[in-house]
């Protein structure tokens, strides 16, 4: 018991001054694998449907006259003398890169 106490105190004292009996270990070398050779990939374009799928950029407005507007809003100059009547945009039609229609519908400014 006394010997064990003495040995434990010695071990703690050595560790405090940076001396230790621990031996560091290292991981083993990894397993070697073969390189994948360079090659060309190919994928078929999915067929678009009217009811589904995403919007393909870019979106292009093809007909300006189909724009729709909210009722006009009048802005007044600070001096009260000049008014500027503007119709806020309500809806704009686009075609995406696939020729599919897309609409932007804006809220009425309040």
């Amino acid at each position: 018991m006394a010997k064990d106490m003495t040995a434990a105190l010695q071990a703690l004292t050595d560790e405090a001054v940076g001396q230790t009996s621990r031996k560091d270990k290292t991981l083993p070398e990894g397993r070697a694998v073969n390189q994948i050779p360079e090659r060309v990939g190919k994928a078929d374009k999915p067929t678009s449907t009217a009811s589904g799928g995403g919007i393909a950029s870019p979106l292009t407005e093809t007909v300006y006259s189909t724009r729709q507007y909210w009722d006009s809003v009048t802005y007044q100059s600070t001096d009260g003398f000049i008014t500027w009547q503007v119709e806020p945009i309500k809806k704009i039609k686009f075609q995406d890169a696939n020729g599919a229609d897309a609409e932007f519908v804006y809220a009425q400014p309040t």
Partner: protein, 513 residues
């Protein structure tokens, strides 16, 4: 809160460049300059959209505005006698223009035209302005609006073109006129307009009213005469009669005193002594005494007045006038008084008479200058009646009050008024007439919305009466503020800021923006 605008929000929308225009640029509050086309003159028209809110800027925006020299106002100035493509409002065409804000707050340019013949109406058309909606506004059809017939001769086509003398901040009230006599108004027509424009309705849905404030042929020369007499005039004649015996004519020592008391001409007497066969009477002496409180006070003479211009200070109309008066007045004692029942009675007055001659220039009720000449003299008047009649026939012979002011059948021109109000001095054979009054700062054709006038002294001599000389004293704005100057009127330019109430006087063209 800023309004949504497109995909963003509206920051601020307006005209931020304000200051004094001179030499082609507006000097901004931060000292920087902004190039601006030359105004036609210093005339500035204030337009206030009813209920327009004050501009609110955040501290950061205020700092940015100050750095940029921007000033955001909640009122508009139409500066320099132009409105866009309309060109100079003073242009020598027989049309006047007014910027009118209707009951719905919509801005219109109103064109008013007089006919080349004398008709009791003006032709009115309107055009929407100051509204950006992608369309081009054009003049409406024309309507005829009846006008005060007295004003008609004051403007006549190209010879005396109709111009806008001044308008209030909404154009719902304005003054039209013709300009002659070196820039004075030949007549003034105040017009009121109310309602909201409906181009399809009769009279565009508007109600017009008008009233001539001055006109070319107004009989403006008046005779003034007020006279009143009060109190009692008592004259006492005491006659001493001595008795004589007949036929010796020896005085008996008996004396008879006859007392004649005339109270306002009415005799009360104990009568003369009565002669008998034994005695007669001889009138040996006479004493006269007077005890009178009867006094005549009077004021009489002539006066004339003409309105020469008009301007609005905010929405208060100020009419400029030249007034002449020459009134003599006094308080005279009555030393003799007949009853009026006398076949050829008379009254005798005496005392000091004061004469006061004025030539007064006013802007509204404010007296800009009162040129005053006075003199006094002792006078005696004998007013005869019966044979010759009375100048002011009284209703009561004991005392009376007469107010005999009347308009004479004479139109006093401005020159009549100025000449009559002049102060004359004669040295040797040369007479000099001086008169100090307001003159228009610019002659015909340059007066639209330019209410500024110059207080000058005109000196005219009998040796060269057709070439008077003028000396400037001060430049006046309709608000009553003025700037002293000795610059000859021909070289003077000035502009008045109707909100800041600042008057700038210069020797070259200037205009507030």
């Amino acid at each position: 809160m800023k309004a949504p605008f497109g995909f963003g929000k509206l920051g601020i929308f307006g005209q931020p460049y304000h200051g004094l225009w001179k030499g082609g640029v507006i000097t901004l509050p931060n000292g920087a300059t902004k190039a601006c086309p030359a105004p036609a003159n210093g005339g500035v028209v204030l337009i206030r959209h009813p209920g327009q809110a004050e501009v609110v800027r955040s501290p950061a925006e205020q700092a940015a505005d100050a750095a940029a020299g921007f000033e955001w106002r909640n009122y508009a100035l139409i500066s320099g006698g132009y409105y866009g493509g309309v060109g100079p409002f003073y242009s020598n065409i027989p049309s006047a223009h007014v910027i009118f804000i209707d009951g719905a707050g919509v801005r219109w340019l109103m064109k008013l035209t007089t006919s080349s013949s004398y008709v009791n109406y003006m032709t009115v058309s309107i055009k929407r302005i100051a509204h950006i909606d992608g369309t081009v506004s054009s003049w409406s059809s024309e309507i005829n609006v009846p006008i005060d017939a007295r004003f008609v001769a004051s403007v006549h086509s190209v010879a005396i073109p109709l111009i806008t003398i001044s308008q209030n901040t909404t154009g719902r009230e304005f003054v039209l006129g013709g300009v002659v006599n070196g820039g004075y108004a030949n007549g003034l027509l105040k017009v009121g307009v109310s309602g909201t424009v409906d181009l399809g309705a009769s009279s565009f849905g508007l109600t017009f009213s008008n009233e001539a404030l001055e006109w070319q042929d107004r009989l403006n020369y008046e005779s003034v005469g007020t006279e009143s007499v009060s109190g009692t005039c008592v004259n006492v004649i005491t006659r001493h009669h001595l008795q004589r015996a007949n036929p010796s004519h020896v005085y008996t020592g008996v004396e008879y005193i006859e007392v004649q008391t005339y109270t306002d001409g009415v005799l009360d007497t104990n009568g003369p002594p009565v002669a008998t066969g034994a005695y007669d009477w001889i009138d040996v002496s006479l004493e006269y005494s007077r005890s009178t409180s009867k006094t005549k006070t009077f004021a009489g003479g002539y006066r004339a007045k003409r309105a020469i211009w008009a301007a609005y200070v905010d929405d208060v109309l100020k009419v400029y006038t030249l007034e002449y008066s020459d009134i003599s007045s006094g308080s005279l004692d009555a030393s003799w008084w007949s009853t009026g029942a006398d076949p050829a009675g008379y009254w005798i007055f005496s005392g000091m008479q004061e004469r006061h001659k004025h030539l007064i220039t006013k802007i509204g009720d404010q007296v800009v200058w009162d040129q005053h000449f006075s003199s006094s003299q002792y006078i005696e008047q004998q007013v005869s009646f019966g044979t010759y009649g009375l100048q002011f026939p009284p209703t009561s012979m004991a005392g009376y009050t007469v107010d005999n002011t009347s308009t004479l059948s004479y139109k006093a021109s401005l020159e009549d008024i100025i000449s009559s109000g002049s102060i004359d001095t004669t040295v040797g054979s040369v007479t000099t007439w001086t008169a100090k009054y307001l003159l228009p700062i610019k002659p015909n054709g340059q007066r639209w919305a330019s209410p500024i006038m110059v207080l000058c002294t005109r000196t005219k001599t009998s040796t060269d009466p057709t070439n008077p000389t003028y000396v400037s004293h001060s430049v006046w704005a309709p608000s009553g503020i003025n700037v002293a100057t000795s610059t000859a009127i021909a070289n003077l330019f000035a502009t008045w800021h109707p909100v800041l109430n600042q008057l700038h006087v210069d020797t070259e063209n200037v205009c507030w923006f």
